[in-house]
Amino acid sequence: MKALAPYLASIDGLTTESPIDDKKSYIHPKLKNLGSVSLVLIREAVAPVVFRNAEQEITDIEWLDDLYVRAVPNKFKYIERNRGLQILRALGVGGRLPQNKTVLYKGQNPSDAFDLNTLVFGDSANYDNRVLPVRAAVNYSDALSLLPKDKCVDETFHNRAMEDGTLFDAESKKNSDNLFTRHFIKPGTLMVQVLSTRGQVLPEIGLKHLLLSVGMAGSYGGQTSVTGINIRTHVVGLYGGKFEQAITSPYELLRGLQGRDGSDVLAAKARLHELLQAAHDLAIQGDEVAAWQADLIAAFNQSGSELEQQYKQAQPKVAGLFDQWFQ
């Protein structure tokens, strides 16, 4: 993780002080500097998943003369942000308010609502008659299927049958017309998604929090998650550079995968890593990141670990940032 330091913020230097004149000074957030880190993930459907829009069909998008399944960021971000809150609550360093309902009352400090989760995933709060907005340090991209939609979506046909197993409704003396189809993404479907920062805004503890949240979430299903998790996450790698690169768009990554087997996780990971590595100053392969993730989860499960100390040390610094900035 040390190699990533040039592209991350420093937890000790979230704010700086500048003089107004020789007596007075003011505190402001540290000036942004060049740096971008991208965490590239493959989301694998391990049980039927539904990513629906307004219609019964799965949300899709036209790209490269074909249709691909498209999951908008919230489908994953929501779950992972929620997991992040739970992690903070478990360690007693934040997560005092429920997700998506941040309200501050007069006299409260912004840090009563905002915590490390806010810094990583973004949030906003109503405060008196103001709105306090916080930009997410990490942007979630669309998740895009590696195979065209017709190869990874199937449908089932349902009817609302009567108790006797037929469609005959004894009360109205006619057959039920309550018939419908449900579209779902087939198990084995792979989707690529990129989580990226722009500028040195994410401190190292924030990156750890992100990896932990991603590693411990893993399920989303809309209607279908009754059998347990239905999304497994594979890490392609972590990529850093001074500038964000065009290849970190999932649409560009898909272009690079054209003509290859889109159902083999290992092959897809290797090819994506090859594409991403060529464009970045720093590339860390997925296995290494996954090992960090496993270490972080183990450390989280053990009380009094070094990770817990780091969270506890970071808490007042993050609180200080929000309190100083919004007042």
């Binding site: 540290k30 942004k32 908008v72 991209s141 500038f243 970190t248």
Partner: protein
């Protein structure tokens, strides 16, 4: 401001949306342009010239644009496209309920739980110009990626090209006390002038100080 004109070709790498136009049940994006503000602020962020904080400062475009070493034209395209609406959900009720007062407002439809946005698809190409600064020479990159749109989720790839004619934004000119004739009024903050040669545009924006 230096007399440098950098023609810009911008290609959308991911979909992006703005709450530009009211449509039934939600908003649609203006598909034929990327505003000059989006370009200037996006570029400042990409080149590391923004505040480091994830918290936003008080809104003041005049102050922010004044501090930038460049001015920009609006980026326009001849082939505007929009994706079909995507349903978004404002799930404020997920982990906790609303207060009664808010619930009543939601039920009356002022604060919708579900609304739609319409995005510009990937692969659309816009052109325009940047004045006073060549970001490609400055950064030593042959292409730059900037972020625009809601939640800065839209990626835009910038490349240098030769550009003859551009449109300026009269609303930005007005911030600097310059009055330009408007050919198309789109939004309060987006008022397009007629097409003009890039040299004339440069002459105009040099007075935006």
């Amino acid at each position: 401001m230096k007399a440098i004109i950098t023609g810009i070709q911008a290609e959308t790498l991911t979909p992006f949306a703005y709450h530009s136009l009211m449509v039934q049940g939600g908003t649609a994006t203006l598909p034929e342009l990327v505003s000059d503000h989006a370009l200037m602020f996006g570029l400042a962020a990409t080149l590391g010239m923004m505040r480091s904080s994830v918290c936003l400062p008080k809104k003041d475009y005049r102050r922010d644009l004044d501090a930038m070493p460049w001015r920009a034209s609006v980026l326009t395209t001849d082939h505007p496209r929009l994706l079909s609406p995507v349903v978004r959900r404002l799930n404020l009720t997920e982990e906790a309920g609303y207060k009664r007062r808010i619930q009543d407002v939601v039920k009356k439809g002022n604060l919708k739980d579900f609304f739609t946005t319409q995005e510009v698809p990937p692969g659309v190409i816009f052109t325009g110009a940047l004045f006073g600064f060549d970001p490609f020479a400055y950064s030593g990159q042959d292409e730059l990626v900037i972020r625009i749109g809601l939640h800065r989720n839209g990626m835009l790839r910038l490349r240098p090209v030769k550009v003859e004619q551009v449109r300026l934004n009269a609303a930005t000119a007005a911030l600097f006390g310059r009055e330009l004739s408007v050919e198309r009024y789109l939004l309060y903050g987006l008022q397009l002038t007629q097409r003009m040669p890039a040299k004339d545009a440069l002459h105009e924006v040099q007075q935006w100080n």
